[in-house]
Amino acid sequence: MAKRNVSVSVAGLVMPVRVWGQRFAFLALIALSFALMFLNKAEPEAFERARTVVVDAVTPVLNMMSRPVEAGQAAIISVESFFLVRTENARLQEENARLLHWVQVARQLGVENATLRAQLDFVPDIRPRAVTARVVADTGGAFFHSLLIDAGAQNFVRRGQAVVSHGALLGRVAEVGQRSARVLVLTDLNSRIPAIVESTGDRVIVTGNNTPWPDLTYLEPNSPISVGDRIITSGHGGVFPPGLMIGLVVDAGEGRVSIQPAVPLARVSEARVLDYGVNGILPSPENMPARPDAPAAVGTTSGGSKQ
């Protein structure tokens, strides 16, 4: 009898302690979540390192898991191309005939260009080095638009480099681990790309808005921009190399001009990281060059895009 009473009283003591412990843990973790979010906002650099360590560790797993997806995509494309082979062949023959004409034009222009450069003692552009990497994850969902690639610092990928795919700009390298990197896609809210409207020469900023159609901001109010105009990188502000295709204008209304990115975001399985020797985002303050006229913000300064 006495033994039973003891066990009941112990259980009676342990249970409330357990319940209070769980409540305390719950409240402590909520407080910790808020604290982490606040610190993340205040000290993003410290948390970036933790993030790249996790991503580095998981990249081989993601790489393996994404193979079947890629194989499925390849299978779908090959079935599609089987049914389209006749029309595709006709289109390619027609395109080939057209391109043969352009080969002649290019050869003539090449000779002319070489002559003119020789006369002007022209200093040639720096040819970019490039790293091609697999896209192992399309992360973020509705709130953050980024991709993970399986190349990092050990492959000479650096923060700020331009990333292209299918011949068009995809975004820029935002975080770099040892063997992985995060690419901030041009549709993300944080993406700002200095650009020009090819037909008018107007300078604009391609501003991500978390929709598939980024906006053009800082456009002159009376600009004759119209739907279908090509938008390319300007190279201003030392952000991206000039001349990279970004997209086409799809909406040129009164209040808002938006573009359709040229890169097919749903079919990006590989990406090329370009190293033009320009830095897409400002370095951290301690790494800033000791220059009194150093740019104050990305995309708001001009010049100095090329060495």
């Binding site: 993030r51 994850a137 992360t139 709130f143």
Partner: protein, 174 residues
Amino acid sequence: MNAASFGLVIELFRRVVPGLSTILLILLTQLPVPIPFFPNVAPAMPLMAIYYWVVFRPDLMPLILIFAAGLFHDALIGAPFGLTALIYILVHAFVLNQRRFLAGKSFWVFWAGFAIVALVAMFSTYVMASILREAIMPADAVFMCMVLTVVTFPVVAWALLQSQRWLVGSAQPS
């Protein structure tokens, strides 16, 4: 390996299946699916795993594990640490509170319960993300994500049910 230690390994494996399935679903959600706009509206599968396991095996889904899974998810998607973790532990607390009501009922009630959890969790994420990014996020992608999450829940729940039936078992504390 003798029978006792083999049994121990099997028992350990049974106990980590809920956590592993949650991590696996977090990774699956990140895969680059070649469907236009899909990554922006991909169903929140980790939420399904948390809901399922907290209802049926809360003993194998401790709060700290859910919090760690949330931090892992935040690291992968490039979100501020704590955002998804906060949502996950709130979901854990809510479902744990309501599990006696949800556990013994029909699948429709179980599904409706998840719909409410998904709606509240995603709306909370939307508000938190908007505050953290200092901008109103486009709501259409979140709405589509919510619909897809609720619609695809039975498929993932079926897969989790199979893993519970074959690997985990239904023993649970009273």
